[in-house]
């Protein structure tokens, strides 16, 4: 009787431990996703500073419409 009680206690602990490990694992996966995805897309120091502006047709049209007096 006493033994069976111990067994159930252990089972419960095992169950809780299992949940704990699972939650920790999920947290690790979630943290991994959030930290790695931007890092993968990050640009190099020279790339992030390079000029992106160009006088496209769109930009020229903007300047032209602003010249209307």
């Amino acid at each position: 009787m006493a033994k069976s009680k111990t067994d159930t206690t252990l089972d419960r602990r095992g169950f809780l431990k299992g949940i704990g490990t699972g939650a920790a694992g999920a947290a690790t996966v979630a943290a991994g996703v959030t930290t790695t995805s931007p890092a993968l897309a990050a640009e190099s120091t020279t790339d992030k500073k390079k000029a992106r502006y160009r006088e496209s047709a769109h930009v020229k049209k903007f300047y032209a419409t602003n010249r209307y007096l």
Binding site: P38, A39, E43, F62, N66
Partner: protein, 198 residues
């Protein structure tokens, strides 16, 4: 090399706040943050003036000078950007900025601040151009698409100018010559105490 600048023609601004709305929509700016604001001086009185303000992308940016984690960088287009990966939300840049550009999302109770958010000149951030990661953290990258900031492109009275500093200065000069008044940027006299014949 073209230097990106904003110029608000205060004689044309009608305080419609379309620039503010356009910015919020284009960049999916969260509640409580305005990357751009319209400031009105002498509201309701003669001589009332409105001016649309955001990050002015300073040449020698004070925000960058005070940042303890050095998260700011200036692109070759002279656009001041920052990395939210590095930002610790300390708030030093907010105190240093003369325009009140840096904003902080309220992430929790007790006044704790999130990562700083400010106008990116619609040029995204340090993530790869026009990726989802860039859009989520910094908003649209219109500059990489060959466009200009939407606030300026949306301005109905063509008050807010954006683009190459040389070109927009020339456009403003032409307007002043045609109008016959308003030489010098609004606020110049207050800032520099010079008498300008207007």
């Amino acid at each position: 090399m073209a230097r990106m600048k904003f110029l608000c023609d205060a004689d044309r601004c009608i305080e419609c706040n379309a620039c503010v709305t356009a910015c919020k929509n284009e960049n999916d700016v969260p509640w409580g943050i305005n990357r751009r604001r319209v400031v009105t001086i002498n509201d309701g009185k003669p001589g009332e003036r409105s001016v649309s303000m955001a990050c002015m992308h300073c040449t020698d940016a004070p925000c960058a000078a005070v940042c303890p984690v050095d998260c700011f960088y200036t692109t070759d287009d002279a656009v001041v950007l920052h990395s939210k990966e590095l930002c610790i939300g300390c708030g030093y840049c907010f105190y240093a900025c003369p325009f009140g550009a840096p904003q902080y999302p309220k992430t929790a109770n007790f006044g704790s601040r999130g990562k700083m958010d400010k106008c990116t000149y619609c040029a995204g951030g340090p993530e790869a151009d026009n990726t989802k990661a860039e859009y989520v953290a910094y908003g649209a990258n219109r500059l990489a698409e060959g466009k200009l900031p939407l606030c300026a492109e949306m301005c109905s009275t063509k008050s807010l100018l954006a683009g190459d500093g040389e070109i927009i200065a020339q456009i403003y000069k032409e307007r002043v010559a045609k109008r016959g008044y308003g030489s010098g940027a609004w606020g110049w006299k207050t800032a520099y105490k010079e008498d300008i014949a207007t």
